[in-house]
Symmetry: C2
Subunit: 418 residues, 2 copies
């Protein structure tokens, strides 16, 4: 019987691990609680009604259909028993492994304020994105029906907590929707008057970017009429708004882009985790005491390169997962594992039309060039010819007509006030 | 103050009524509990993962954005008080009207067996379609994980109750998904072995079509390996399958395409309704005793043409709604109303690739020609340039690659067994 490698997670990490094991004499099982891979960098475009969920997702078993030694199972891992080398599944039953790659990613974290979650949803899954889309669109619908001036103003106030790339992208797109897309469709409200606040507790938005690029992005945000608040924390969230420092802001919609934590299943590995629940991994990405278990991507805290944590981006997960897979193959050939070395390919953030920043190390861009490189890279990275064509078309429509292709309020509207 | 005409419902009927009132000196308010119009004839393609919800839907206020005298409100009418000329809304508040057009459509009906609904969902809204898509895709995922032969066989059994156009379309597409789309992606099951039953209690499927066309459609279904059962009723539905006459069939997925009833709000009009809850309307589409209230489309029982009920299709709603709108304008000019005359433009049903039937009265088509006319008509009828392009592209991809663009399991997977 060939050695059995189990991969948990069908994100950027899990898929890269499966591909790295493509021609090896091993049996691979990839499990994910979803049937689909989500292209997370474009999730905010689903949340802001530009793209449909189907445009940025693809069935995992379709992506891996041509890799004969990989089997895909839709199943939810609830516990990893490293002693028995066994994964327990929420559907009942379990899965034994010889080697394990954990690529379960992260979820949003509220720094102990879990009660904030219902009023300030985060953005990690397609369901999150559809839920945020529903909230944003319903806010305008309710404002149109509202006769009280103060409540109407609150409904047209949007607070985005967290000034990283996701927060910036959400704020920028929201501004375009309010100022352009919805412009001529309402009779009682002027959507262009919507107030959008971007709140960052740290000293600056986009803090991983060089100062010059940060300033360019901030200027773009301000041009879009967004109030950028830096160095001040959100101290309370309730169903009617937030406290920003000691200032009360009534807001119909609060979105959370402030913090992440590793997915909970990694706690069951029984090895040390950092404050955000990330597994402190060895230089070869395995876990202490269990050289057959590897943790990669957002679920891992890898600090062996320069003492700093690797960034929580697709590249970290993809490079780490391939490296973990290769380390397993080395061990199977009787060779020692090698240390993981992360290669920074740069980072990008987009604000809106013709406004983005791009730090590729050797070149730093802002404005139209950064925006074009952002578009090109994201289309290139998308899985599947079909998704690429549809996303390109939707972007073209959005660019030339200011329209958004997926302005649907769906889901359980009974639980909202509609 | 101009006369106030309220339209309830943003389906084919409601939109046609709003357009017919475009240049009149009236104030129009259209209310719908959704923010979007759904192109219902293609809903089955969302349920079978070919199209995304956004491809066949568009925001109502976007569709009507250029009609200055129309205001769109997202609101749910719970009761119509014809004496006070007032509509009560579930969000609180109410809406007064001078004239009313009710175009609320239909919902599925279980002939008294409301307990069947959780196990045999019907297809009327985007949420229904996403739910059915989830059930279909999860059935294959669970079958892949199942070790017990009998249960695996049950999971790969699909029963569609009702042999009208929707039932035929669902059965045909399901067969293509099982036999082609999913073919190479599973390791433990042969999806091509999936069993698909189409059950019609009446003497024949597609009974509104001429016999020759029915036979052509039935032959296409049989070629796709679908078991067509006619003249036998489903007598029980539970979470493990159905009784077809006295035969027990274990099935993981049961879909309901058998019956419809008018949406419930029309009961509050306080006028006679037929067995399916449809309002028995006057020859001019108004209701008895209230010449200022009109009911059109699936919510109305109009039998003044030849004693037979008009078919529950888009054309009936569109023609009726325009006629009701024109009757209101006639009354405002002091003229008498005129009788509604339905003009049958024909009907179509699609089975699958190059297989459809089309009865246009003067010409009856089956096979490739009917299929092409079906494609052409549906693209032509879709709202919005963007939707037309995306749907055409998705169809081309599906046709040439057998792939489906929206194979996502989303929604509340906690409530399913995943």
């Amino acid at each position: 019987m060939l050695p059995h490698i189990v991969i948990i997670g069908g994100g950027f990490g899990g898929l890269s691990a499966a591909r790295a094991l493509r021609n090896a004499d091993v049996r691979v099982t990839l499990i994910d609680r979803r049937n689909h891979h989500v292209f997370q960098p474009l999730l905010y475009q689903v949340a802001t009604a530009t793209l449909s969920p189907g445009d940025i997702a693809a069935p995992i078993r379709w992506i891996l259909r041509n890799i004969a030694n990989v089997k895909v199972l839709m199943a939810n891992a609830t516990r990893i028993d490293v002693a028995a080398k066994r994964i327990e599944l929420s559907e009942g039953g379990s899965l034994d492994y010889d080697w394990l790659i954990v690529a379960t990613g992260s979820k949003h974290a509220y720094f102990g304020h879990t009660d904030w979650e219902p009023n300030a949803p985060g953005l990690k899954t397609l369901e999150d994105a559809i839920g945020i889309r529903r909230r944003i669109l319903i806010a305008f619908e309710r404002a149109e029906r509202e006769n009280d001036d103060r409540r109407q103003h609150a409904l047209l106030t949007f607070v985005i907590v967290g000034g990283g790339p996701t927060g910036v992208e959400l704020a920028g797109t929201l501004a375009e929707i309010a100022r352009q897309t919805l412009r001529d469709e309402f009779r009682n409200i002027d959507t262009a008057r919507a107030r959008i606040l971007l709140v960052e507790a740290g000293p600056t938005i986009l803090q991983t970017f060089p100062e010059k690029l940060r300033n360019a992005a901030r200027a773009s945000l301000v041009r879009l009429g967004i109030e950028v608040r830096e160095g001040v924390a959100v101290t309370a969230v309730d169903s009617h708004g937030v406290m920003i420092g000691s200032e009360r802001v009534d807001a119909g919609t609060v979105l959370w882009a402030a913090g992440v934590a590793a997915s909970s299943v990694v706690k069951t590995l029984g090895v040390p985790v950092d404050r955000a629940g990330r597994v402190v991994v060895e230089p070869d990405l395995s876990i202490p005491g269990h050289p057959e278990v590897f943790v990669v991507g957002d679920a891992a805290a890898f600090t062996h390169q320069d003492g700093k944590l690797l960034p929580g981006v697709a590249q970290t997960a993809m490079q780490g997962a391939s490296h973990a897979a290769r380390n397993i193959l080395r061990r199977l050939r009787g060779q020692p594992t090698t240390q993981f070395v992360y290669r920074d390919l740069g980072s990008m953030a987009i604000v809106g039309r013709r406004a983005a920043i791009s730090d590729l190390g050797w070149i730093k861009l802002s404005g139209v060039m950064a925006w074009l490189s952002w578009l090109f890279l994201h289309i290139f990275m998308l899985v599947g010819f079909r998704n690429r064509v549809v996303v390109l078309f939707e972007w073209a429509v959005a660019y030339f007509t200011f329209q958004r292709g997926a302005r649907l309020i769906t889901g359980d509207t009974r639980t909202t006030r509609f």
